[in-house]
Amino acid sequence: MGEVIVITSGKGGVGKTTTTANLGTALAMMGKRTVLLDTDIGLRNLDVVMGLENRIVFNLVDVAENRCRLNQAMIKDKKLDTLSLIPAAQTRDKTAITEAQMEKIARTLKKDFDYVLIDCPAGIEQGFKNAVAGADRALVVTTPEISAVRDADRVIGLLEAAGLPHPEVIINRVRFDMVRRGEMMGIDDIIDILAVELIGIVADDEDIVISTNKGEPIAKNQLSAAGKSFRDVARRLAGENVPFQDVGGGRSLWRKVCAVFNR
């Protein structure tokens, strides 16, 4: 039985889709049977990031409404034969699918796959509820900005309430030069506030934008540091102990005392 992992954030544009595409790619490169599920109905773009847009015939809503079988909506990756994608519908909205339907789809998929990665839409409404419905585990993506961290905190509270008590956090688009100058929140500051486990740190890297535009997730690029960051997250997901690079910015003694009750 595989694991269903939802990738969520609250705030839009922080890197959920990028993370889903790259983690899926990295897990598939490790030989794990992986399927990506785009639940951003009406604003689908995981297919574009994966470079699979032109192969879409059926989508998630077609599956939910029994217009096709699950495996008919599955698109195989261009190169990795352990990876596939179920795209969202573009011409419908978040109410086109229910939590019960999502749960059923997730339950079916995890019989045949090691990992089912769900790309969650922004917000905390129906789309979020659908994405979370069948999940066994949650990853929360944030950037080192106060508004993104605030939304991540809100979403962690909602995940806890939904029975996913130990979400793990990916901090994306970190600019280490700004952190060093004290112009950006550090990793420790963010983890202090969110009081959950850290599972990944990804630098802000324009190569991600370039690879995204090409429909080639950067995780495939062995020379890219950002690619390695995503591959590291995949290994941690699979249970490997992969140390974090030292990014500095430790906490003061007092903040450690404050954090005691949250762990």
Binding site: I146, D153, G157, S252, R255, C258, F261
Partner: protein, 123 residues
């Protein structure tokens, strides 16, 4: 006669609630009595109490003690850095530059001389 401990039967019932934190953005507590939070109260969370509020953690959210007008109500936190702090009908927010000094020691906020005053707790 033993006089140096409290008999639990003599203590008033239900005037203080203990809440396990952290309280996250969107969480809200409203209590008729005192509130003790074990853990942080994050920005976007709100704690309102007619009595005192004690936070064994970092206070980053909004708190209102003495919410029904008790000017003797206090707010105490291990790290006091609220978005906004209210006591009775006084509304305050941390002054600019406060983040430089916040969090060095536990602090208590209370009304002294008609103003909300924040002082380090001497331990």
């Amino acid at each position: 006669m033993m006089t140096d401990f409290w008999d639990k039967n003599d203590l008033p019932k239900g005037n203080t609630v203990l809440i396990e934190g952290p309280l996250r953005s969107g969480h809200k507590i409203d209590y008729d009595g005192n509130v003790v939070v074990m853990g942080d109260v994050n920005a976007g969370a709100e704690v309102r109490a007619t009595g005192h509020i004690i936070i064994f953690g970092a206070l980053r959210g909004m708190v209102h003690s003495g919410a029904q007008g008790d000017i003797h109500a206090k707010v105490l936190a291990l790290m006091l850095f609220p978005t906004q702090l209210r006591i009775a009908d006084h509304i305050t927010c941390p002054p600019q530059g406060y983040e430089e000094i916040a969090g060095k020691a536990p602090e208590v906020a209370q009304i002294t001389g008609g103003k909300v005053v924040i002082e380090q707790l001497i331990v």
